[in-house]
């Protein structure tokens, strides 16, 4: 497949397929995240990068036969390894009989929310999710360090020229997205607070929120989007999300329980758990949304800078 566009689109189909596989496997939350993140954000990021780095790739392969040999050998060893794994779907496989029953049976009594995945994610395993939110935060900072572009004021009349030309290009789409974006944002908030009872939660809500903003940036141009949500505000929100997450832990510590134990947050433990999970989901949602928006803004800003440089070279080329 020489054309990288086709590769990225087939990757989109592939992650859509894997998300529907997760639905068939009763993994509802995972399908949610894979659909929103896998098919949405990563395909868009790859598209932006491909417009920057060229669309076709050389088809020279490095010693394909040796690679094939290595791959087939490791594959054979792995398949040999799977023979003593338990059959698919047996109820008394070792994985189901030791740890899981405790969470399935007691989570309703201890935490009181039906969605066991969110209860494990947010309160039994809150410390790991905290570490994971910090990982997302550092990824955002890393991309910002690599790709951040200094804002030069005199660029604006060039980019506004592009925005006007985009106007008559995408008239219909702009009107439809104007109708659609508020509902996407509303749906993101629904997913955020519906995490306890059905599939949903901080991660998925943040990604859907970011997808709405990215849709806006694609169609209305980066400068208008930057005017709507300026860069420093997003960075503040990202940091505030992680701070909120950490503070919930410290507050429960100050009240005498250990680091992420929410029982002490409110009068009776179950209400404390509800409050703690709500706040943590809010922190996670803020961080994920702002980091994804920051990443996309940096990529698009870089691309715009490259296009401006190209145009400047063209003008110099013509004028010589």
């Amino acid at each position: 497949m020489k054309d990288l566009f086709a590769v990225v689109m087939l990757l989109g189909i592939y992650s859509l397929l894997s998300a529907s596989f997760f639905v068939a496997m009763d993994a509802v939350d995972v399908a949610f995240t894979e659909a929103a993140v896998g098919a949405g954000i990563s395909t868009l990021l790859m598209l932006v990068v491909i417009t920057m780095t060229g669309r076709s790739e050389k088809t020279t392969r490095h010693k394909p036969w040796l690679a094939l040999l290595v791959v087939v050998f490791t594959g054979g060893v792995l398949i040999y390894g799977t023979f003593d794994m338990p059959y698919f779907g047996i109820a008394d496989a070792p994985i189901h009989s030791h740890v899981a029953p405790r969470y399935i049976n007691e989570s309703m009594k201890e935490i009181g929310i039906p969605n066991i995945v969110t209860s494990v994610l947010a309160s039994y395993r809150a410390f790991d999710t905290f570490g994971e939110v910090v990982v997302i935060f550092t990824a955002g900072i890393g991309v910002m360090a690599l790709l951040s572009v200094g804002r030069r004021p005199e660029e604006d009349e060039k980019t506004t020229a592009i925005n006007d030309s985009m106007h008559e290009e995408y008239l219909v789409i702009r009107i439809v997205t104007k109708m659609l974006i508020p509902f996407i944002l509303l749906y993101a908030l629904y997913v955020q607070f519906h995490g306890d009872f059905g599939p949903g939660g901080g991660f998925q809500a943040g990604v859907i929120f970011a997808a709405a903003i990215i849709l806006y940036t694609m169609l209305f141009g980066l400068t208008t989007a930057r005017k709507v949500i300026n860069q420093s505000f997003i960075q503040f929100i990202a940091a505030a999300g992680v701070l909120l997450y950490g503070c919930v832990g410290i507050v429960s510590m100050l009240n005498g329980a250990n680091f992420f134990d929410y029982n002490v947050l409110a009068s009776d433990p179950v209400a404390g758990q509800h409050l703690g999970i709500l706040l943590i989901e809010w922190g996670v949602g803020c961080t994920v949304a702002s980091v994804m928006i920051m990443i996309f803004f940096n990529f698009a800003g870089r691309r715009e800078m490259q296009q401006n440089n190209e145009k400047v070279n063209n003008i110099e080329g013509d004028s010589l």
Binding site: P114, V117, V291
Partner: protein, 130 residues
Amino acid sequence: MIIGLFNDWVVVVLMMIGLYIVIAHGNLIKKIVGLAIFQTSVFILYISMANVEGGSAPILAEGIKQFSNPLPHVLILTAIVVGVATTALGLALVVRIKEAYGSIEEEDIQHLDNKTQDETEIQATEGDQS
């Protein structure tokens, strides 16, 4: 026998496809796509292990007794989001490599590296002689 282990074989095949793409293809973006395939195959392994025949999604509702195991779902939930964060970083690096080397094919990058290496050596030797 066949049906029982079919999922694991699918996982292994996908993993090997991802590995082959990373090894054989020169284009950096193709390598990132290969890594993405490798990553989803690991997710499929975890989720197919967590599934219980006849069990339903791990959301407590009346009249449903058998649930599939929620713990691998939590693991994969965080893994997907971290995976996207690392892919974003990888793509940022690819953009910078393209700007620095002008191409994202592995051979061109190595070629340019070797060339700059030889030049620095030559300058070093001239420096010693003079």
